[in-house]
Symmetry: C2
């Protein structure tokens, strides 16, 4: 079936069900950032496969909303279909509700699957559509269930136990801490729906979702019981025994609604940003609306997790240096055109895969050369892939899943001679990166406060970047872990010791060039004074930062000192694990400026 | 009547009215920061006169809650009464609701005057007291009305017209813009209750409140009418004629409730943080809960206002330099002990009063010498006043109301030899001040983002200050004008061109020393690029910054360059208005470092 045939089949269902429009989001029942193929409804109905976007189909029209990262890709992918592209945050773009109001008129009904939309998002949609002349919403129908014939099944891959050696705290103890957190919020229990929260809580990992070692399930905690709702085929006998020993019961995935109906406590905590609308509406008990206490617990790493992170970062640094050493043989030479964005990614991934405890990449590599580096979320495809040239910048953002930790690193590399503009943006990005590394701050400060340190020198030049400066990183879990962040928008999550956070400013000049430099940092104590506890950052990432593009005059002495000290640490830590040739190259790469 | 007699009289009323407790806040019906004497109920019933604090009286006990600024003063003032001091933000201090729950037990009724508490604060109190065993709240009684015999009247001072020459926009035009703002919020009208918002809207000024040129009133705007609720004795015939010409009707102050009852539109905008609970509950129409659109309009100064600000700042700079020149004759000399904190304030005020269009001070001067400088809101009284010594720092935070603008400036001055610690904190404060002055930022950034620039160098030394870094300043209006601020806490108000904002970092080391340096800044365009509009700050304040305490090694070249350029501008702008002796002194004070 091509897209137009799929639309026709959908509209037949819509006519039968008296729906004027259907809405297809990017999410799954667990509000995952990456979703299993089973839930890629929006991609199936529209053909647009970006990570963020919403398709809306009426009886006579269709449109896809997405953000600036995907304007080009979406235009390409929607060509030849009846879909209009709706560019988010561009003046004149209607909201989904406004557009449905215009296309369908008042008094009609719109279908949206309550299972794959958060409670809050559906509530807002209901309000917005009501304003468009009393349009109502039906939430109990997945219209594709009747027409998507070769739909991939919900994944059934096996769950594995995450050893205490890496987790550092038993599931039993974590559950006890969660219950304590719930009591502080005056809640008797909670439904956990985020897959990484469940994996963290139970010390289990899976492989249901690309790059994210999670497994599809729900976890219902009451004051007496803990029940994991999961397809039982995923649980081997030793995992079943483990769960029993940790005090966790098991029920089938589909029975979560029954579990919520039978829930016997006075109240239950539900995070309406996390729990889907259908489950939210199933609950008849009093709802404590609050952020899940697990979110914050998970972001503060324990001693074993920190040891694991450092081990993973050492291995990742070794792989990165082996890669950079290999690449250095091509830099500035015509033979570099034998390499492409995709081929260097393959080389890097194979070097990582040689490292002990390697499991997977942690996200799809971004390898962008020349003007591709200016596309923030560029992912080379066979269609866009280009040979490297012996000039300009290569932006390489990649990471891996090791059993003992997750990595995320960006380096921007000079492949030969650079323009002044390339050098200028590279140096501004590096200065911003270092200013964050140097920051000392009171425990509990927010990432919104600190974010400006990465931008202030760019702002003087009228430059900026529109993504956040950093995000948390999971322990052999999702590479994006919230709620703490560095970003311009307000994120009230306070920063405390034990958190990981990336430091990744960038500058992107469309059709010209781009640069980003990223280390993953650990928050550690700095000093305690009469004004309280102060914290600082420790770089976990160990990999040289290319010195070739740096305009020395733009660097302060303090910034230069930081870079030289960092490079000395990289050299000292990595060289015992490298060959003589690699060490010689690294010594040069780490020589003081 | 002494405090204990007042308590006895109150308890008689409470017994008659079956109230188990009464609560007395710091505010007036308009949620003013400074209140007229008529509304100083908490001070009358407790004797505690700090600007922030709440008194609670039960039939057998009494307590005052206040924050760390006032712990010492409150302890002193409550001595000999039955009041307990409750220290806010100190571990173990109960909330008011918890304390009432413990003291009075369940099922009782508590009195709180709904006229002097915001709608939100009473709503929260009702929820909190209900949790303490179903304690209910009565809001329609001012218990002091029956017992405070010599209570000052509601002020009746005359209102004056604020000339277009300074206001720059007619009341008629402002009202049209407010109505447009209301339409954007889908509101048909609004009740304005903040006294400075009303003064700004109508281009009127008064003298009902210490330091703030406002007048007690409400303003009710509908799609057809604008009614000023005010004691008519305050309006001279020319003001009445002016109001009529601007399309503003007049009704008596007490009739605002009737006005709200008779309000005929479909809905009305009320800001529940601003409008008091009693008026809020009077409304029977649909309420649009939102921040008043006036708040933001008022903070963006028009061209005439900016001209006025610059004129006021010039005069204030002249007065400050005359003062500093006078003070310089005593610095480092034993004769300085002839001066005290209060006497220098009198000298400064008299020099300001000589300037054209001077009307008043804009807040009570903070003149603190030695360890007094470490008390953030120190205000010298005859009891605390001390002679100056020819050593250490003097912190002087002061400002004036001129008809063309309001000023707010802090200088910290070396009175003789300094300790290393004094020099260190002074230099760190100056560096923080300059970092804000140097900042360039995208239009719409928030003060929460920028605040850290003033603190980052202090944080490296484990130092900090717990107040905001800056606040807006009114146009011959309140010296504190929101909602935009620089502060560690989240303030979502975006910064845009035309706003005034102070830049006033400090460090306070209790029992040792304190320093603060403050200029008032104007936000002006910087440049426009593909990343949008960027803004910068222009110092409005014109006054030398003492160079004697600066540790030069701690300053970056950029910071030194800023200071020298600022001093050159101060010298060039002020010297034409000074005597030869004053100019000679200023030339020295402004010589480059």
């Amino acid at each position: 079936m091509n897209i137009n045939q799929r639309l026709e089949a959908l509209r037949e269902v819509m006519r039968r069900e008296h729906l004027a429009a259907c809405i297809f989001p990017s999410t799954d029942p667990h509000q995952s950032e990456y979703v299993a193929d089973h839930w890629k409804s929006r991609e199936w109905i529209s053909g647009f496969n970006g990570s963020a976007g919403t398709a809306v189909v009426t009886l006579q029209s269709a449109a896809v909303w997405t953000d600036s990262r995907y304007f080009l890709a979406a235009e390409e992918q929607l060509k030849g279909t009846e879909y209009q592209l709706m560019k988010l945050k561009i003046e004149g773009t209607p909201t989904i509700a406004e557009w449905i109001g215009r296309e369908c008129g008042p008094g009609v009904e719109v279908g949206v699957d309550g299972m794959v939309n958060s409670a809050n998002s559906v509530k807002e949609l209901i309000v917005d559509l009501r304003k468009q002349g009393g349009i109502t919403v039906r939430t109990n129908l997945d219209p594709l269930s009747q027409i998507w014939r070769d739909r991939p099944a919900v994944p059934e891959s096996k769950v594995e136990i995450y050893p205490m050696e890496y987790a550092g705290e038993s599931a039993h103890d974590k559950i006890a801490r969660i219950r304590k957190g719930l009591r502080e919020l005056h809640a008797d229990g909670m439904l956990m729906s985020s897959l990484d929260d469940i994996a963290w809580t139970l010390n289990l990992r899976g492989s249901d979702v690309h790059c994210n070692p999670v497994f599809v399930s729900y976890l219902l905690i009451s004051s007496k019981d803990v029940i994991l709702y999961i397809n039982k085929v995923k649980l081997m006998p030793e995992v079943l025994a483990y769960l029993k020993a940790e005090g966790v019961g098991v029920a089938s995935y589909e029975d979560v609604k029954k579990g919520l109906k039978d829930y016997f406590e006075y109240n239950i905590l539900l995070d309406p940003e996390e729990v889907n609308y259908s489950l939210y509406k199933t609950v008849t008990r009093e709802i404590v609306v609050a952020e899940s206490p697990v979110k914050r617990m998970k972001t503060i790493k324990n001693e074993r997790e920190i040891v694991g992170f450092k081990s993973a970062m050492l291995k990742d640094g070794i792989a990165m240096v082996k890669f950079l050493y290999w690449l250095s043989g091509y830099i500035g030479k015509p033979e570099i055109s034998e390499l492409t964005e995709i081929s260097i990614d393959e080389e890097l991934t194979s070097l990582r895969a040689e490292q002990p405890l390697y499991r997977d990449i942690s996200f799809d590599t971004i390898a962008g050369h020349g003007s591709h580096a200016a596309i923030v979320h560029y992912e080379a495809t066979p269609e866009t892939d280009i040979p490297l040239q012996p000039k300009g910048l290569l932006l390489l953002d990649s990471g891996a899943q090791y059993l003992d930790g997750t990595t995320d690193i960006t380096r921007t590399i000079a492949l030969g001679p650079l323009t002044d503009l390339e050098k200028q943006i590279y140096t501004l990005v590096l200065k911003g990166h270092i200013q964050i590394e140097l920051c000392k701050f009171p425990s509990g400060a927010s990432g919104t406060q600190i974010d400006i340190l990465a931008r202030k020198d760019m702002w003087r030049e009228g430059l900026n970047y529109l993504h956040g400066t950093g995000h948390g990183v999971g322990t052999y879990l999702n590479v994006h872990e919230g709620p703490h962040q560095f970003r311009m928008e307000w994120k009230p999550a306070p920063l405390v010791a034990g958190m990981t956070i990336t430091d990744e400013p960038g500058i992107y000049l469309p059709d010209r060039c781009g640069a980003r430099t990223e280390n993953t940092l650990l928050i550690v104590p700095y000093k305690e004074t009469e004004f309280g506890k102060f914290l600082q950052f420790e770089s976990l990432t160990l990999c040289p930062i290319d010195k070739a593009p740096i305009i020395l005059d733009m660097m302060t002495q303090e910034e230069t000192d930081w870079l030289n000290a960092y490079h000395q640490r990289v050299l000292d830590t990595l060289s015992p694990h490298l060959s003589d040739e690699e060490t010689a190259w690294l010594r040069e790469a780490c020589a003081p400026i």
